[in-house]
Symmetry: C2
Subunit: 201 residues, 2 copies
Amino acid sequence: MPSTPAEPSALVQRRQRQVQQRIVAAASDLFAARGFDAVSVTDIAARADVGRTTFFRYFGDKSEVVFAREQEMLEAIVDAAEQQRPTESPRSVREAVEQLAPIVLDLCGRATADPEDYARHVRLLEEHLELRARDALKLQQVADRLTEVLVGRGADAGVAVLAAQVALACYQTARRRAQAPGDLVGQTRAAFDQVLVLGAS
Amino acid sequence: MPSTPAEPSALVQRRQRQVQQRIVAAASDLFAARGFDAVSVTDIAARADVGRTTFFRYFGDKSEVVFAREQEMLEAIVDAAEQQRPTESPRSVREAVEQLAPIVLDLCGRATADPEDYARHVRLLEEHLELRARDALKLQQVADRLTEVLVGRGADAGVAVLAAQVALACYQTARRRAQAPGDLVGQTRAAFDQVLVLGAS
């Protein structure tokens, strides 16, 4: 076991996080002011007061900054799932969907915590086909992560895949139904409620 | 009303379709032989025995050729929906999902009609993140088209959105569960069957 104390590492992590957030904020401001295409990595780095090398330590390209939050969420899923870990393995698609609902609602809450920032993000996607495509792919990665969470809880793999895709369907529905960022959580909950009584009528 | 007879237009359409299919087949062969990145539009045009100008009359860029089939399907949805038009408007999410199932199964059948070609397409997507992203976006466009079909049949807009996303979830599940192209239709049907009894247990 290494004898290095935990604090320095935590401090480094916090500083890294601050730099990353500064880059994201700088990019978001510039995209909103000038449009995605007119902003370069150099512009973003300059506004965030970091070098280009630092930028590329955190992000592969300009588009990746747009999905920094989605990437964070992807990483947060396992933590969220751990915190809400139920005592029983999901035995049916219904139970699996029920177990995913609070995780997805938690993600929606985080995504819209800053409504103005979320609205800007949505506008950026609307304007760029390539960004919409990356967004659609990110959400499939979210679904695949949710599948892993269920399998980790002992669900059958086939059940887990379907439940995760249904959970994503609820989120996608809410995005289309929501009139404002503040509606997203409520609309996602409503979609889950509707899906969970699908075969009951 | 124009006096031009219908035949020439149909003939022109058939020729255009043949040219388009030749471009798609040429691109598919070249991508499989050399890899997506090593093939240029000029290469594809040469192999299909057409000029670059002709290529760009049919496709915006190299990636678009990969999704020619998806684009065709997108256009086929409205026709498929017309042919299978039920007499009643869907009144619930369940009825709406039931109405979408045969349309989606029909699309799956067409997609895998040439299993070897479908398998090549899947391999291409696996190798390229940008193509996976475009694929994910195309499928969202399919869902939005399915929503329109339901609204056209008199469904409530909110019901239609959820039903279309659930139908897409069944397809995405089948893609992950299917071991071979020949399994896709059966797996999609199985996913619909499971989803439609979600709240019954």
